[in-house]
């Protein structure tokens, strides 16, 4: 092995007709990063700063009494972004709601781009519709049975919502509106992520606004 960079490695590429690795080229207008992109970034950050400064001038951060291990507030709540998790703990044993589900969610997020299937984002309903409807109905039935068994209505409702929209999107007639056609062309990952998003928002909103002492259901506007 010769380590003189002028002599090695010797690379010879034979490019025969129609076998070039470059098959697609973008014909987009390019602009200079400085000043075009950097100025836009600076303006965006400045607008953000102004908004946050105004918020901070008129709205004070909360500060309660000195920490007291002897006095447990009821309910004791985690920060808002963990309240969806805390809400899950209300339904499942800690090892499921606090460990298994969050770990699976993080793992699922990490592996998303490595699923080479459906890289062209082919619409879920394009193809054999009957077979897919049976598969989807089975999957939703199993999920709903599981959620109903644990009485997790906060996830059950979003599941049924997304499933109904999916079935609605299955039938694309020429007369269907633009929105229906747009939904019809959506791939499976779109549906799974939307289900996750709606469920996560529902859980977080319930944990934040609808839970009071003993994690019992309360209305944010007080007792009726």
């Amino acid at each position: 092995m010769d380590s003189d960079s002028r002599r090695t490695p010797v690379r010879i590429a034979f490019v025969t007709r129609r076998t070039s690795p470059q098959v697609q080229a973008h014909y987009d207008t390019n602009v200079m990063t400085w000043p075009e992109a950097i100025l836009r970034v600076a303006i965006a950050v400045e607008v953000l700063l102004i908004a946050l400064v105004l918020l901070s001038l008129f709205w004070d951060a909360p500060l309660e009494g000195l920490a007291d291990p002897m006095q447990t507030p009821n309910p004791a709540k985690a920060p808002w972004y963990f309240l969806g998790l805390q809400e899950l703990l209300h339904y499942f044993p800690p090892v499921v709601g606090g460990v298994l589900i969050p770990t699976l969610v993080v793992l699922a997020l990490v592996v998303i781009p490595y699923f080479g299937i459906n890289i062209e984002a082919r619409g879920f309903w394009i193809g054999n519709r009957e077979k897919k409807m049976r598969a989807l109905a089975l999957a939703v039935a199993i999920l709903v049975a599981f959620l109903a068994w644990f009485e997790v209505y906060a996830v059950l409702v979003p599941t049924l919502l997304i499933a109904s929209i999916m079935f609605l999107a299955a039938f694309e007639t020429p007369k269907a509106g633009a929105f229906r056609q747009w939904l019809h062309a959506k791939p499976l990952p779109f549906w799974i992520m939307s289900w996750f998003l709606v469920a996560a928002i529902t859980l977080t909103v319930i944990g934040t606004f609808f839970r009071g002492a003993g994690w019992a259901w309360v209305w944010p506007w007080g007792s009726v």
Binding site: D28, L52, K77
Partner: protein, 251 residues
């Protein structure tokens, strides 16, 4: 009398300026390229960008705004460190001092806290926006992984900062959160002990969270931010969605 622009151009041509910034004055695209390429921070980005990638609708600038929050948090965080002792019960007294004694102390804490909440929100929004426009697909798959690491770091940063005021809200939020760790099979109690430095949230936990919040996690975050931005350039710039109308097959 030279105009301001001419004076600035003259300044940028001086020997001292050029020794610092390497490039001289000039309006050509070469000079503009050098302004990015020769700067240790900006060189993570490419010299040119696709014009359409700058449109608001493509990204909603959510990544940029997340970075903006991070920068605001670093500056306000360093200033807050000047007034803060990570000890019990002095930490809480420092909150009261920020409120009543330090000039603009309450404003500083407000800005830090709201920026932190905004950052968590923006990072989540950034993730969903990237997903829905398909920007995670190859060749950008590893940058998506780096992004999920940054999401975790954002949550840990926010969570460790939550304890520092040492009020009832902080103490019980961390107690609730750390109790979940006990549910981890086999080593749950050990992990919890490691993080809290004890069996309950106490003065050791405050010190550990302080070091994590002010030193360890920000350093790791900066490292991954650098990789995240550098990979945008290496993976061919920002993804701009369906380009089928502008893509032509070439042989």
């Amino acid at each position: 009398m030279a105009t301001l622009t001419e004076q600035l151009a003259g300044l940028r041509n001086t020997r001292v300026w050029r020794s610092v910034f390497r490039g001289g004055s000039g309006e050509s695209n070469l000079h503009r390229s050098l302004a990015v390429q020769q700067n240790v921070f900006l060189h993570l980005a490419s010299v040119k960008v696709r014009r359409r990638a700058l449109d608001f609708g493509v990204t909603w600038y959510l990544g940029t705004l997340s970075l903006g929050c991070f920068l605001i948090l670093v500056v306000t965080g360093i200033l807050l460190m000047l007034y803060y002792h990570p000890s019990v019960p002095q930490a809480y007294a420092d909150m009261k001092d920020l409120q009543f004694v330090v000039s603009a102390g309450l404003f500083l804490r407000n800005l830090h806290r709201w920026s932190a909440h905004a950052m968590v929100l923006l990072v989540f929004a950034h993730m969903f926006k990237v997903f829905y426009r398909g920007a995670y697909r190859p060749p950008r798959e590893f940058n998506w992984v780096v992004g999920t690491i940054l999401l975790m770091l954002t949550l840990f940063l926010s969570y460790t900062g939550y304890l520092l005021p040492w009020d009832q809200l902080a103490f019980w939020a961390i107690t609730v959160g750390s109790n979940i760790l006990s549910a981890v099979p086999v080593m749950g109690a050990k992990i919890r002990f490691l993080i809290l430095g004890g069996h309950t949230v106490n003065a050791n936990a405050l010190l550990r969270f302080y070091v994590l919040h002010c030193v360890i996690l920000p350093l790791i975050a900066v490292l991954f931010l650098a990789i995240h931005f550098w990979r945008i350039r290496k993976d061919g710039g920002l993804h701009i969605g369906d380009t089928s109308s502008e893509v032509k097959s070439v042989e």
